[in-house]
């Protein structure tokens, strides 16, 4: 989330630093994003793990200066680290 919330970074640097944190699908989705269009600049509190998680997919709620965000995390197996697939404003 912190790596995502940097709208003032040059496009290339923003992407290079975010990419290792994204799942394959996340990378396909977020490629081409203009960081300057991102309304978030800071995480403002502790993240909360939402219910309905499995070993390979989970949702994390993150408070930001642009409101609540929900990050979808996935991993191929319990041996692997979590990667972000979706980084979206929480549904109103």
């Amino acid at each position: 989330m912190t790596a995502f919330a940097r709208p003032t970074l040059p496009e290339e640097q923003w992407w290079n630093e975010l990419l290792p944190l994204l799942s394959q699908k996340g990378a396909v989705a977020y490629e081409g994003t203009l960081p300057s269009n991102i309304p978030v600049t800071a995480v403002t509190g502790a993240a909360v793990l939402l219910p309905a998680s499995t070993d390979v997919a989970t949702l994390v709620e993150v408070p930001t200066d642009a409101g609540l965000y929900v990050v979808t995390l996935v991993r191929g197996s319990t041996e692997e680290s979590w990667l972000a697939e979706r980084i979206r404003p929480a549904a109103q």
């Binding site: 709208p7 003032t8 040059p10 799942s23 394959q24 699908k25 396909v28 989705a29 977020y30 490629e31 081409g32 994003t33 203009l34 960081p35 300057s36 269009n37 991102i38 309304p39 978030v40 939402l50 309905a52 998680s53 499995t54 390979v56 997919a57 989970t58 949702l59 979808t72 996935v74 991993r75 191929g76 979706r86 980084i87 979206r88 404003p89």
Partner: protein, 378 residues
Amino acid sequence: MSDEKKGGLGVALAIGAPLLVVGILLGIILFVISPASACGAGTGTRVNLEAMPTEPVAGYQGDQLMNAAYIMNAAIDLGLDRDAQVLGVMTAMGESSLINIDYGDWETNGVRNPDGTPTTSIGLFQQQDSWGTPQERMDPTTAATLFYNHLILVDGWATMEPTLAIHKVQRNADPYHYESYGTAAEQIVTALSGAVGTCATGELVYPLADGFNMTSDYGPRDISVAGASSWHAATDLQHWPNNCNDPVYAIQEGRVTFTGSFQVTIKHPDGYDISYLHMWPEDVIVNVGDEVTAGQPIGATGNSGPSGGCHLDLRINVAGNTNPLLETLVLSQAEGAPSLYWNFVNPEAFYALYGMELCGGAGSCSRPSIDGTELPIR
């Protein structure tokens, strides 16, 4: 009676193997031709601007529908198909609610460019000044043409998830922003295209709110949940991972003929049955004998019965059908289903009769996977 049943099963088993082979062949043929034969899909239709609907469509009306028509016709002028028409309408919904606004993110949210200058986005597609003159960006046809000229340069745009293809052009913060407009865009494109010869009539809607996923296909499958069927006469849908207690809507009108255990069945006036499975009985809000309309809430997703997690199992049985159009659908027995699951049809093919895509098209449903593995809940 029990002998008869046994006999029936025996016959089914004896002819099961050749049927399966034929079923697979038919399945392949069906799969290959279905996109082209789907009603309303494929080549787009030019909108007759003199014959616009006077009633709202999917909550959009008047100038909004006219703007959708300009977008659809811009696609046709570029030689693009119906999917492209839907993409364009989805984009303008997500950017401007199909209203040709002469202001944008700077005026509403103070959004600035990286160099600190105010953004200059205007029009149906909220295009900045690098896209064209203000006159060009405020002209619906030209703005749509500018959009499509960028879209067709995106590698694989026609096979990507629609919202992602749009994102490659619009470059917003949220690649999934356009996802929730798929259903409405489909409905508008269908409505403005006029009556299509072989289309079914009558209202059909999706059983869950926009943005749902399909987690198990119709047909044969491997299954680990005890009691769940190895030949799946249904389509499993859910909003992963918020898959529980999610409102379920009747997809068509009809009379409720069964509620109990983990199933609600609604009989259409044309005699076929649509069933909704796995809702907890206490969440079901219709009763036997009730007349329901398309889109009426009937309950909420649950995990009742043989189920590995909250989802909606949607199945359509055409045993009592009197509608000739539905007779064009391939029956489950022709695809190798055991006799317990005869007379079902693929819900995706059913939606295609109405010019709608249940899953995998420009509509609201996607097949999620994690590195190629289907999500675990069935």
